[in-house]
Subunit: 239 residues, 2 copies
Amino acid sequence: MINPLVLKLEHHDVLSSEEKRVLESMISRMREFRADEDIVSQGSRLTESNLLLEGFAARYKILMNGRRQITALHVIGDFVDLHSHLLKKLDHGVIALTPCQVAVVSHDNIRRITESHPHLTRLLWLSTLIDSATHREWLVAMGRRSALGHFAHLICELFLRLQAVQRTDGYSFQLPLTQAELGDTLGISTVHVNRVVQELRTDRLITWQGDVVTILDWNRLIQVADFDPTYLYLEREPR
Amino acid sequence: MINPLVLKLEHHDVLSSEEKRVLESMISRMREFRADEDIVSQGSRLTESNLLLEGFAARYKILMNGRRQITALHVIGDFVDLHSHLLKKLDHGVIALTPCQVAVVSHDNIRRITESHPHLTRLLWLSTLIDSATHREWLVAMGRRSALGHFAHLICELFLRLQAVQRTDGYSFQLPLTQAELGDTLGISTVHVNRVVQELRTDRLITWQGDVVTILDWNRLIQVADFDPTYLYLEREPR
DNA sequence: CGACATATTGATCGACTTCAAGTGTAGTGG
DNA sequence: CCACTACACTTGAAGTCGATCAATATGTCG
C-alpha cells in the first residue's frame, strides 16, 4: 500500500523490514480527493499528515491581492505535509491537481516513531530536508533563470522525481497542469507560459500533448535548464 | 555560550534544563570567519554542522553563467547547515557576510541526540522546517511580489527574526548587506535595488544609513509588504 | 449543440536589466 | 596632507523580458 514512500526512501538509504512494517502500520486510513479540491487548507490546524499515493498535488499560498504562488509540486510517494506534525498550523494550502488518493497518518503515530525509531525518524526528517533543498533550487530558478530556463529546469526535475517512483515511460511522463497552474508555479503569466512552451516545442526540446510531456533531447534540455540533480539527493548512503 | 540557539528554540517550545545542557555540550569547538569567507563551500562533503553565534551569513548558489542567488539569510542563533548532517553533501554554499563566530557541532553528536533525545530531536527538526517555511515565503515573494514589496517583506522578516534573538533596538536593526548582495537576495539587479531603496526612503517607510535600518512606519510597511508572520512560527507550544 | 475551461495569438505597456558614467567615502602610502 | 585606489552608491538612457488587455481558436463534457 505504502510502497511508493518506501520506493522513494530507498533511493536515499537502506530500510530494514521492521522499518517498512512501521511505515505500513502508521497509516490510519485512506482519503480520496477530486481535482481542485483542497487536501489541506491554508492556516488550518492539523492533527494528521497526508501521504500521496496516487495523483498530483501542489502546495500554494494566496496573496492578499488574490494572486497565487505554487511553492511545490507533489507526486506519488510524497508526504505533502509531513512538516505539519511539528508546525501544527500550516502556512500554506495543499491542493489536488488531479484526483488523488491519500494515506492519512496521525501526528501521534509520527511522534511515536520519533520516540522509538531514530533511524526511520532521520529518514523522514531527510525527506523534509529534500523538500527544503528543492525550495532552494526553485528560488534560484525564480531569481536568476529566464522563464524558458526555469520551465526547462522544472521538466528535468519532475522527470527524475517521477522516474524514482517508476512513473516515467522512456522520456515521457504525465504533467497534468494547465498553463495557468504552470504560471502560478513558475511565477509568470499564463500568456507567457504559452510562449515559453511554444519555444520549447519549436526548439524540439520537448513535446507536450494532452498531459503527457516527452523529452526529445535530454542533453540539450539540461543545458538550457542549467540543471544539476545534486539537490534531489538520489543516492543511497547511510543517514 | 549557546544561548542564542536556546533563545530561539524557546520561542517555539519549552526546553528542559537537561535539554539545554545537551545543546551546550554538543559543541566541539569554535571557529571565526572573516567577512566574505566561505563557512561552507558548495558541493563539499561535511561531517560537522555550524551554528552562528555572532554575525550575519547567507546560503547561496552560483549558476553556470556566474550569477549568484542567495537563498537564505542567517542571523545569530541560526544553524546555517544543520541539514548537512543528513544530506552529507551540501547543494549550496554558506558565506559570512560580516565577521562571524561559529560553534561547530559534529554530525556524530547530532546523531546521538536523535538516538536519545526525541523531543530535542523534534525541536531541531522543527528549526529546519522553519527554514523551509521561510524558503516558501521567499518563493512567493520572488514569484508574485513587486521588487518594492519583496524588499519590504524582507525587512519585516529580518526585524522579527532579530527581535527574537534580542538584536533589535526599538525599530532599528543591523542590515550589513551591500546593495549588490541584496540584489542577489531579492533576485534583481543592483541598479534596481538602489531605486527600490530610494522609493522606500522617499515614502518614509524606512531609513537605511550605514548598515542600520530603521522602520519608520511598521503598519504601512507590513501593508506594502503584504506581510503575515505566521511562517516564522514564533509561538510557543508543545511540539 | 451549447457552455465553459483551456490554449493560442496580437498589440501595447511597464518593470526591471544593461550599459555607462559619475559621486561619495574610507583606506593606503608617499 | 594630498594623491591614488578601491568599493559602494547613485543617476541616466536605452533595451528587453514578461505583463496586461483583448480577441479568437480549440477542445471537451454535460
